[in-house]
Amino acid sequence: MTAPASPLGRILRSSTTTFTFGSLDNPDLPAFGALVAAEVGPIWVYGLVYEVVIQDDPFVRQVVAAAGELTAERVEDMRQRRQVPVEITALTVAYRQGDRVYQRLPPRPPAALQPVWACDEATTAQVLTEGAFFRTVLNAAHCPSEELLAAALRRAAACRLPEQQQAYLVHAGRELARLLASDLPRLDAILRRLAL
């Protein structure tokens, strides 16, 4: 994976299935469904962003209470400088060892303070090529799985050449139909959210 110049943030806590990293509030925060990665020794762990939590505290509440007088400098101070990070959580869906991508849970989660990187288009397209990660997302009870899967698929399709996007989505739709043959309302909910 080609890493961007600076990481999105650093790991606060992690488990085998999810990792949470802290970041400052800025416009480059990863979107819902974006693929992010963290290095664990010789492997890269990939996750889909499914929760972004912006913390508050008494100081923020006091500043907000004086909203009529908020200056740009105070807003930027609150967003960029204060030690109240935005917490972003990703669902682990795959890992890479050498040149091979495995759509299954990694042997180990990322360690605390490990940098987390945004994945570029080529990496996203490659990591999300196969449909084995669908079940990982659908089985994740702690996240909005239908929304997340649809967002990830739309993003993975957008990372492909225009002429390949439709085919990718059709292939994904067929795979989903197979997985959710006995749960048509859920299948319908995802397919309706797949439109690019």
Partner: protein
């Protein structure tokens, strides 16, 4: 364990006493206000009385008026212009002889906010660990007390103020047009304990402090001591002296001030409207009149109401300390007042000082983490430090 029911009678008595004191205070405040207006003209006779009081009792602290009237109140007529505000604050971990290791820590926090820039302010913290024998033990081989740590923190704060002022002026490319204000949370006149250390040590501290103030002046920045909820009564003590005949100015009479339980704040809450400042005064403390004056850094002060709405209940009176070379420039003083008042918007307290405090403060959790790190570092070298039995027992409660 506190048995609250045993205190019921005392609580009743206490509330009655507070109400009675409050009524008496109101009467004293009215008397003080009347004196402020009755004795408003500053003449040689008044100044002689103040000098006599300061000479008679060196511990007497009064306000020496720098203007022509005591009842002056001033609201700048010009509009606020963008200034750069630097807030600096410090905090500390005091040495704890019951702790696992003996040390103390000083942490300073600084924020540089450029009004009107739309940019995020710059922030910085600077922790310093004091652990060497000569730092944690005094000459009698006793663990240094909190006053020594406070003095070291005070010095660290003024150093940080000077450092940030120099750095910001450099970032401005030496442009002296931009108003640069460096705020400290507390007085600009340092506190000198009489018995906390030998004289030469105090002198060294004063010299170091004054050198930093001079550096701030050299880069054209304005140092400001911002005292929220001031408890001083220098103006009231001066009013008491003004009412005495010159021969009656003796120590016993100086201490028998009629305004004993009042503060200047209570007086000016009823006198100053929003964004109004009092007249200028200087402290009669010897330190100010000798050491600071000789270094060209004598401190003047005024009271300022930083509230947005008029009225006694809404008033927020603060004391603002500035060097005399700032006080002597009315236009500059107006710009400083406007910049501070603007930064108090929404909080009735300077935003930069609130943030500097937040940056500087060391919480109990951070202290625990620091001590864990120290413990681990020692264990790696084969030593197992432990807190005292008393400290351990307290943790169980």
């Amino acid at each position: 364990m506190l048995e609250l029911q045993r205190l019921l009678d005392d609580i009743e008595a206490m509330s009655r006493e507070i109400i009675r004191q409050r009524r008496d205070l109101e009467a004293d405040i009215e008397e003080g206000l009347a004196a402020l207006m009755r004795l408003a003209v500053v003449d040689d006779a008044l100044l002689d009385k103040i000098d006599r009081a300061a000479g008679e009792d060196p511990s007497w602290r009064g306000a020496f008026p720098l203007g022509t009237r005591l009842d002056e109140r001033h609201r700048p007529q010009s509009e606020a212009v963008d200034a750069t505000l630097i807030g600096v604050d410090g905090s500390q971990i005091y040495p704890d002889r019951h702790g696992p290791v003996l040390y103390y820590l000083i942490n300073t926090g600084a924020i540089v906010l450029r009004q009107g820039s739309g940019q995020a302010p710059l922030t910085q913290t600077r922790p310093t660990l004091f652990f060497r024998e000569e730092a944690v033990y005094n000459e009698d081989q006793e663990v240094v007390d909190n006053r020594i740590v406070n003095a070291a923190r005070e010095l660290a704060e003024i150093r940080e103020m000077a450092f940030q002022a120099v750095a910001e002026r450099e970032r401005l490319g030496g442009d002296l047009d931009r108003l640069l204000i460096v705020l400290a949370d507390g007085p600009l006149l340092i506190w000198i304990g009489e018995k906390d250390s030998p004289d030469h040590e105090v002198q060294r501290r004063i010299a170091a402090y004054l050198a930093e103030l001079t550096t701030i002046q050299r880069v054209g920045a304005v140092p400001v001591g911002y005292v929220d909820r001031p408890r001083s009564a220098n103006v009231l003590r001066m009013l008491h002296v003004a009412d005495l005949d010159l021969p009656a100015i003796v120590t016993a009479n100086l201490r028998a001030t009629r305004y004993r339980h009042l503060t200047d704040r209570a007086l000016f809450e009823r006198w100053l409207g929003p964004n109004e400042r009092s007249g200028l005064f200087s402290s009669t403390a010897r330190l100010n009149r000798v050491d600071f004056r000789q270094a060209g850094q004598e401190i003047a002060f005024f009271y300022l109401n930083v509230a947005r709405t008029p009225g006694v209940e809404a008033a927020r009176i603060v004391r603002v300390d500035v060097p005399m070379w700032v006080a002597a420039q009315p236009d500059l003083l107006d710009r400083v007042q406007l910049a501070i008042y603007r930064d108090c918007e929404g909080m009735d307290y300077p935003y930069v000082l609130a943030r500097a405090h937040e940056l500087a403060v060391v919480g109990s959790r951070e202290r625990e983490e620091l001590e864990q790190m120290l413990t681990i570092a020692l264990m790696r070298r084969g030593m197992v430090p432990a807190p005292s039995a008393k400290a351990l027992a307290k943790r169980l409660l």
